[in-house]
């Protein structure tokens, strides 16, 4: 099973995402933003970072990269697609997911070990978890406050499309403490915290993040 990891100019967590995917038993394949070629991968991760410096709205330029056309088509066809942090922002800009990520309500970049509650395990990326399970993985961003209009929020809540919420104090002002959401089909997931930094207790606060990558392995095997 091959998982593609996209590198945009300014992507930072591409090697980490590839490491996590490998750790979970898949084969990681590097995808270059400028090549409209998915190299036959079965799933794709858009990793964290500051693509194009994020000087415009985060992710606003990356969504136009040649590789994104192929990714959008494949995702519309059901391919599992995970956007982490900057990747989540790209997914929103590409309209694969609703809403937008805005400046943290306290205005600082925030890096901390964050407790989350998994609220849906029916997606391609969360099936390894139990609903209600609490996990701790790193959160690190300056623009992680999930915002959307009331109707969208009601729809996301009503359709069970919120996949994880922050537990305890809201770290960035996200509506309804949303940490991650999915599309209607459940194959596209956007997540603000970083599961790829929590695959072992040597380098991460926990190994709780590995479940996202084992989940997609099961989804691909099916």
């Amino acid at each position: 099973m091959k998982v593609g990891v996209v590198t945009f100019p300014g992507t930072l967590d591409d090697r980490d995402a590839a490491r996590a995917a490998t750790h979970a038993g898949t084969t990681a394949v590097s995808l270059w933003h400028g090549d409209a070629d998915l190299k036959g991968v079965d799933a794709v991760i858009l990793p964290g970072g500051f693509s194009y410096g994020d000087y415009l709205r985060c992710g606003a330029i990356s969504r136009f990269a040649p590789v994104m056309e192929k990714i959008i088509d494949a995702a519309n066809g059901g391919m599992p697609l995970l956007g982490i942090c900057n990747g989540f922002q790209v997914l929103c800009e590409a309209h694969l997911l609703p809403g937008a990520l805005t400046r943290n309500h306290e205005l600082h970049f925030l890096c901390r070990d964050q407790k989350l509650e998994i609220t849906s395990n029916t997606t391609a990326w969360t099936s390894s978890y139990q609903v209600g399970q609490e996990i701790v993985i790193p959160l690190k961003n300056g623009e992680g406050s999930f915002q959307c209009d009331d109707a969208t929020l009601a729809k996301l809540e009503g359709e069970g499309r919120i996949i994880a919420r922050y537990v305890g104090e809201n770290p960035n002002g996200s509506r309804n403490k949303i940490a991650g959401i999915t599309n209607e089909r459940g194959n596209v997931v956007g997540l603000m915290p970083h599961p790829e930094h929590a695959i072992d207790t040597l380098t991460g606060p926990t190994a709780d993040g590995l479940g996202f990558f084992t989940s997609v392995l099961s989804a691909m095997v099916k």
Binding site: D13, G53, H108, C111
Partner: protein
Amino acid sequence: MALDTVAIATANPETTQPFAELGLKPDEYARIKEILGRRPTSSELAMYSVMWSEHCSYKSSKVHLKQFGDKAVKTDALLVGIGENAGVVDVGQGYAVTFKIESHNHPSFIEPYQGAATGVGGIVRDILTMGARPIAVMDPLRFGPADHPDTRRVLPGVIAGVGGYGNCLGLPNIGGEVVFDQTYLGNPLVNALCVGVMKHSDIKLAKAAGAGNLVVLYGAKTGGDGIGGVSVLASETFESTGPAKRPAVQVGDPFVEKVLIECSLEIFAEDLVVGIQDLGGAGLSCATSELASGGSGGMKVELDRVPLRDATLSPEEILMSESQERMCAIVEPKHINRFLEICKKWDVTVTVIGEVTDGDRLEITWHGDLIVDVPPRTVAHDGPVYNRPFAKPDYIDRVNAEIVDVALPKTADEIKAAVLKLAATPNLADKSWVTSQYDRYVQGNTIQSQPDDSGMVRIDEKTHLGVAVATDANANWSYLNPYEGAKLALAEAARNIATAGAKPLAVTNCLNFGSPEDPGVMWQFAESVRGLADGCLEMGLPVTGGNVSFYNQTGAVAILPTPVIGVLGVIDDVRTRTPMSFDKAGLDLYLLGETKADIAGSEWAYIHGQRGGSSPIADLQREMRLIEVLVAGRTEKIFTAAHDLSQGGLSATLTEMILRHNVGAKVTLENIGVALISETPGRVVVAVDPNQASALTALANKHSIAITKIGSTGGDALEINDAKISLTELRKAHTETFPKLFG
């Protein structure tokens, strides 16, 4: 202004030139004329002025820094020594590690965000230039009093700048310091350290060898920012009434630097460069003259080819600009097409601006007119050298004679109050407000970061090889005794490496001082260098490089002498490191090392407004034996946790240990005031399983290190003799200081 060419300079020898405005002294100007046999052109004058500035030429410090060579440790571990962009050490398994600290003090006072950001950017490029992938940064910082309004202006901007730049580069920030003192009010210290790793075969040097090879400028376009930054800013004291010098501060673009890093690493991997140099202080003047003198000396540059952000820049400005995110490479013609292709892949601007010649002159033209024709060594290396007068300042004997007179805690209430006060004081309070603005996880190899004693990163995922880095300075001790202060800072940094079980390997430094024109300051500097050189020789640690920052002075007020010492260590298996804290009850706590009444220069004395007394005397032999114990304690799996004692003494160490995992401790101490408050160097608290007691005692005895059982872990409070402080109140005291001050 009309173009000043070599021909015009030769024809008009008497033209008056603004050398003084550019920071050159009359005798320095005369020397330039002597070297060239004519007056310099305005472009040559610009180059000499920036390259002969204090910041670039080390003209006041050179005669002292020589000691690092004279007293050099003989070691095979040193692959590249002082003089290159950064030193390189062998860490085994074919890996080489490079690390260095630099200051960006003056720009950070004027424009905190950009000053700090470009400080990070500059040191990262120095590391990249050696051929290494940068893998971590650290930032030792010093500010004026925490509650001063100007600190509230400077500190948040500096933190945001360090984070804004480093986070965007994808470099984990693995530690640093935040220290407050009145003397840093007008002169905050922003030091930045970067570590990089490469294979031995990938080391790159700054040399332009091989006639016909191309001089290639790549990265950001050149703009009008940072013109004369090093000469105007970093080589002068601030005057309270002077004009704002903001245009001399560089502006950073971390995205461009991130792309530049990846592009350069791809170029290095294909072995496409003969030599390379980053453009930092003194910009193109520095890069061209250093590269040329690193080779045979001959180079021709067409300055009008340099891509500009501002088309109106004059050649003098282009030569002096310190625009960030630029690199200069020497490339063989047969590799240039591939070089250009890789730059195109990363959308990096790249221009061939000249070529290496078989002559010995650096010749620069502007639209065909010769505007610079100099022997490059005279610009890069043969700058003035000053034997500045130095003399022990009057204050030393006076303060050393003072008896420190502060009340030490005795009763249970006093113990509790002292522990809470030290936990909350800005110098010792929890720094999460700062470090949570830095990404410590990126790259996925961070094993330790603040508040651990040292930062530690894994460099090989298969063999688990790692390196640890710590930076330390104790300016209070350096103020009382700069010779011992430097040695003590070295010992502390080495100890902070060893508590995790890593073995100290090499030293870098950033020497922050007041004006070298003040003989007292110069004496502090000379004593600090002597202390550090002696200390490194005694401990067998090579000095791989460093940085000197003078003129940290506003009017007559100089900063405390602040030699920041960085020590790099190696650990063969990061999985076996000793953590700084324990997460379970029932462990025994031991103090390694003896405690004396070292209250002078302590945090407790500082809180009580006392600066006098005598600093401790460094016992480096004992420090080395303690390091042996700490490394063996890890490899023999004796320790569950180990944490250094430094500022705030045992009180601070216990506070940090128990709050880390929220497991309390109960300790019993004799001579309670001294035991809790003293900052005697060479001490560590270790937590061990009771069944390791005899192994621990045997290990300590073997290395003649004093050992005292002080208590055990467990409970929901810190209990010291009859005093009991709940974890909740201790955590509140420790964590609310920074949010309250800067929130």
